[in-house]
Amino acid sequence: MNNRLKVLRAERDWSQADLAHALGVSRQTVNALETGRYDPSLPLAFKIARVFGQPIEAIFTED
């Protein structure tokens, strides 16, 4: 799965640690999400969408 996490985060000038704190996960998890090494669970995907104020399908797309 592809995602726009890094772009969305950069647009808001947030660090990985900032996003990790907002999501309640580790910085390593944010890094793994951004580099495509980990696909989030549905609850985490919803949380990401809520944090960025966008629908899930605007952030995550299929390969």
């Binding site: 985060r9 947030w14 990985q16 640690a17 996960v25 580790s26 910085r27 390593q28 998890t29």
Partner: protein, 195 residues
């Protein structure tokens, strides 16, 4: 939210310096362990247990160093628990080898059981505080290790039943299991970019 800071990409020179530093520390640690345990172990099972314990202490210390260098408040306490779990597991492997030099086998066994309870509690707390990716890594480690261990155990058991190989003690088997688990955890963590 404040200034944007990504995971830094270390330069090749810095990577080489860290590698040399860790190799030096590993060498010094290995030499120290070998000096301290010289003549104390007569069986390969004990040597394997000490190697496993040394590896766990090494990983625990490196994790503690990383936490001190880049502290993170989310998930709260997770990093410290990882260090505690590693160090307690190392103690569990060292006590049966060296404990009888200071106390009777019954006392040592009691201490081992106490450590098992405390370490299991710490492991449970780690599971509860971990975020979903760390839990996934733990699950994948367990699955990979189980698959490798049951495959290896079957091959060994068949060879032993046929009288082709000697019997391995339970102490030897747990050392081998820990070694396989250790390798499985490295593979599972590396797949998620954890190092």
């Amino acid at each position: 939210m404040n200034a944007s800071v990504d995971t830094p990409r270390p330069s090749l020179l810095r990577k080489a310096a860290v590698f040399v530093l860790l190799a030096g520390l590993g060498g010094a640690f290995g030499y120290g362990v070998a000096t301290l345990t010289d003549g104390a172990m007569s069986r390969w099972e004990d040597e394997l247990a000490v190697v496993m314990a040394a590896a766990m202490i090494g990983v625990g210390l490196i994790t503690a160093f990383m936490i001190a260098r880049r502290p993170a408040d989310v998930p709260r306490g997770c990093g410290v628990l990882q260090v505690v779990v590693m160090l307690l597991a190392a103690a569990m492997f060292l006590l049966p080898v060296f404990g009888s030099a200071w106390a009777t086998p019954n006392v040592v066994f009691g201490a081992v059981l106490l450590l098992v309870v405390v370490q299991s509690g710490a492991n449970l707390m780690l599971w509860r505080t971990a975020d979903e990716m760390l839990r996934r890594v733990m699950l994948e480690t367990s699955a990979l290790a189980f698959w490798a261990v049951q495959l290896g155990l079957f091959v060994y058991a068949a060879a032993e039943r046929l009288g082709l190989v000697g019997t391995i003690t339970g102490w030897g088997l747990i050392g081998l299991l820990m070694g396989i688990y250790f390798i499985a955890s490295i593979i599972a963590a590396a797949r998620r970019g954890l190092h």
